[in-house]
Amino acid sequence: MNPSLASEIAALSLEHLTLVLISMIIAIAMAVPAGILITRRARWRPWVIGFANVMQTIPSLALFGFLIPVPLIGGIGKRTAVVALVLYALLPILRNTMVGILGVDPAVRESAVAMGMTGRQLLWRVEIPLAARMILAGIRVATVTTIGTATIAAAIGGGGLGVFIFRGIASVDSTQILAGAVPAACIALLADGGLGWVERRWSAG
């Protein structure tokens, strides 16, 4: 492999990873609290889940395209890419958070209340720890998907490993395509393994 290709792979991998990381932090910060909120407000559930569902059903390339003309969050570049990736990552985290918390044994919840826990103590000491494994599973699925989807960000100037892939398609050069696809797949596998480990550690209790 020529050294300039190797350093480009390293640079674009880092860019890719940054894109994924920022998107995931924002998605988690939005979806986990929203998921908890809809366990308290059953009436909001279909709307919130519905919104996340719709976002997921839009084909990814189209979603990136749709965002280009949108003011503030749209346009060409990284910001738009992050917005699209966040919208994509919401559903699995949101759904798993909700399912995880609703799945806490009612007897455990009732005994927590009967012991005199406040609403906040119930959430932090009982519901979140017991739902943690489920929430982490959602984050893991969302992360792995986002790593793949982030390759499309290059189509709207978001950078990352997709740059190789689009360049390879345009110039019918399989080496370029592989230079993007292989590192992306490796990152996805590593993330999957790492988050899987965290998930298992969490369930040890």
């Binding site: 455990v108 009967a114 720890p129």
Partner: protein, 248 residues
Amino acid sequence: MSAIVEFREASYRIGTRDILRGLTLSIEAGETLVLLGRSGSGKTTALKMVNGLLLPSSGEVLVDGKSTTAWDPVRLKRRIGYVIQEIGLFPHYTIAENVGLVPRLEGWEETRIRERVHTLLGRVGLDPEQFGDRYPRQLSGGQRQRVGVARALAADPSVLLFDEPFGAVDPVTRLDLQKQFLALRSELGKTSIFVTHDVREALMLATRIALLHDGVLEVIAPPAEFMENACTEARAFLACLDWKAETV
């Protein structure tokens, strides 16, 4: 003797359905009142009205002379021990953490919590060294139930509520737990309210039995008098004791 818990015409309604109708009853310090009744008789509802898990739709329930609606809900619950079936333990807490829960919520010092947990586990017949660091799923049903009792006693509450606590264990273990209940009572002299549908358990543990039927209090009597009671529902329960194989 003074009433620690007092029901005054307390009713509980869900929609148009009366779960409990005009219950008037007072529970004296040191006694064990057993609420006996079939499923759906309102006995668990009555129990949950004592620590404010449920509030009366009409009438009132007084704890230490103060209506449950006037109590701070969290303070009230921490003053009252609550034992449900073993499934109510926190699966992600060790046995020691489960037992030390209310003292920890109350902000006790760690060393004092540790001592308290140690004493209580010993008192319910579990070796603290052996069981303290285990998780509930590593214990048998009977052991978990003992932990449940220790947890309810932790912050030295004035009243203990038992919601069919021994319902899910085998008969032999149940008898062990019932004997232990009696031993703890004579040792600690706590006031208890105990819900069960098992008339044998009621007769064994109660100082008074309150029989509920369709949300109405039908009989309230000490076990010996209850045995002689003529009302249909009481006879129906007592018939459970008389059943013998040759009558089939």
